[in-house]
């Protein structure tokens, strides 16, 4: 089965993070120790995001790996092997326009479609969530504007509905005008879980976060609120030796 988890924002790259979402991502993989690949392409592969990924997943039962398309000099395996050998591919936020342009020149778009069709779970937030849809609203050029995505999933997505409210009117106008297909508006901390083409579940790691469905009925946009299932992280502790190893590898945590 093909699976995509599209997050409106938040997650481990934001502070304070949403550990319940990280947990859900690993659960979806359906493997006791899933291999999870982080793609920080949309932000230009910054060390800070990579360190946060390791901090979020480094002491969970998984095999975390990072693919940095800006540092391929250090990469020995072919990209195809790296992508298709994963259980989960997690795409970070940033510039959606850059993300898609860079993926295209490296052939990542085709590899990710193959991975998805073979059952690799695709997850991502912000630009890394909108990219799977037919389109979204990007601030890649400054002001929010509609932009096409990869179109694995039908419909469109607009993210950060609570944190960046200037996206909302742009999104509603684009859907009404037909520039974007009908779709969803989601807050930070909210995830849309798709199995094949169907929206199976809407979850939230934050109590007041919301999602909405946006349709056009007789020429008018209709916004319908969706109540997400609130998910909470299981309590967990980080052992002293894991903390020490992480400090050695990635330095002490900083803001």
């Amino acid at each position: 089965m093909r699976t995509i988890l599209a997050l409106g924002g938040g997650g481990f790259t934001a502070q304070p993070g949403d550990p319940a979402l990280d947990e859900l991502v690993l659960q979806l993989a359906g493997s006791p120790v899933p291999r999870i690949l982080f793609l920080p392409t949309a932000s230009g592969d910054p060390q800070e995001q990579i360190a946060r990924f390791h901090a979020a997943f480094g002491d969970r039962p998984c095999e975390p790996e990072v693919l940095s398309l800006f540092r391929l000099a250090d990469v020995r395996r072919p990209l195809r092997d790296i992508v298709l050998s994963q259980d989960v591919v997690y795409v970070g936020g940033g510039s959606m326009r850059n993300l898609l342009a860079i993926w295209q020149v490296h052939g990542l778009d085709r590899l990710l479609r193959d991975a998805w069709e073979r059952g690799v779970v695709l997850a991502g937030l912000s630009a890394g969530a909108m990219c799977w849809f037919q389109g979204g609203v990007t601030t890649s050029a400054g002001a929010p504007q509609p932009t096409p995505g990869l179109g694995f999933l039908p419909g469109s997505l607009s993210v950060h509905a609570d944190g960046q409210p200037s996206r909302r009117p742009v999104y509603l106008r684009a859907v009404c005008a037909g520039t974007l297909a009908p779709g969803w508006l989601v807050d930070d901390g909210v995830g849309l879980l798709f199995r094949d083409m169907e929206l199976e579940r809407v979850v939230s790691a934050r109590p007041r976060a919301r999602a909405s469905r946006v349709d056009v009925v007789e020429g008018a946009t209709v916004v319908t609120a969706i109540e997400p299932d609130l998910i909470a992280p299981a309590p967990r502790g980080v052992s002293a030796d894991v903390r020490e190893l992480r400090a050695m590898r990635y330095g002490s945590p900083r803001d």
């Binding site: 949309a42 230009g44 910054p46 000099a73 020995r76 510039s95 342009a101 860079i102 890649s140």
Partner: protein, 236 residues
């Protein structure tokens, strides 16, 4: 001005290539825009650019294509580029660089800036990008990549630093890649229009090369290279 390597990002403390390219602008206090796209707009790289160029008597700025929503500067990146005296392109992945530029129309803006006389320079990926064809060895074996084509030649960088690149470049030219120019780390190729004006170097022994096919053979010719560090011969 295509650097095989060197300048502030590879050869801190040796300002000869950066000084040379600043003088090419012919302006007392040149406006210099750093374009760090090939590194993914790496913060440490941008900071090093400002540290270096703020001390060199110019008006530095940078163009970030990953954080356009958060960059106070510029507005329209094309306008900003056209207003510069020098555009300085950093190193990194030339494939990612070209893909990102095309998505933002920066390829067209730079071609226009070049036609209007803005000096363009860069090292490594920032050199390869100006040519019709180039050799990238950023991931795995060296391979051919098409650049912006402002210069109708091929290009290879780090010519003395990475023997595999040199071998592959010669093989590509033998197999049909257009003739072109290579530069050692610390050497740079100065083009006026589409023709090579001169090769210069920031260190003795570093040079530029011309590589072309003659029949079935590849002929590699050392270019007379001006050592920018050599004391100028005094007139008798």
């Amino acid at each position: 001005m295509a650097f095989g390597g060197g300048g502030f990002s590879m050869d801190a403390g040796n300002p000869l290539l950066d000084d040379y390219v600043l003088r090419l602008t012919g302006v007392q206090r040149p406006k210099v825009c750093f374009v760090p796209t090939a590194s993914g707009d790496a913060d440490h790289y941008i900071v090093r650019f400002y540290r270096t160029f703020a001390a060199l008597g110019c008006e530095p700025s940078h163009l970030s294509l990953f954080r356009r929503d958060r960059t106070a500067a510029t507005g329209d990146p094309a306008e900003h580029l056209l207003a510069q005296d020098l555009v300085y392109v950093g190193g990194g992945s030339v494939v990612s660089l070209l893909g990102t530029w095309r998505a933002h129309g920066i390829d067209l803006a730079l071609a226009e800036a070049w036609r209007r006389g803005v000096v363009l320079c860069g090292l490594s990926a920032g050199s390869l990008c100006w040519f019709a064809e180039a050799v990238t060895a950023f991931h795995g074996a060296p391979r051919r990549v098409e650049g912006l084509g402002l210069l109708p030649h091929s290009n290879c960088v780090h010519y003395d630093g990475e023997p595999a690149r040199r071998q592959e470049y010669r093989r590509f030219v033998r197999d049909g890649m257009c003739a072109g120019y290579a530069a050692d780390d610390g050497a740079a190729l100065h083009f006026v229009g589409t023709e090579l004006h001169r090769a210069v170097a920031s260190r003795p022994g570093k040079r530029g090369w011309h590589v072309a096919r003659r029949g079935e053979r590849v002929v590699e010719r050392r270019l007379a290279t001006v050592d920018l560090g050599a004391p100028v011969a005094l007139a008798a």
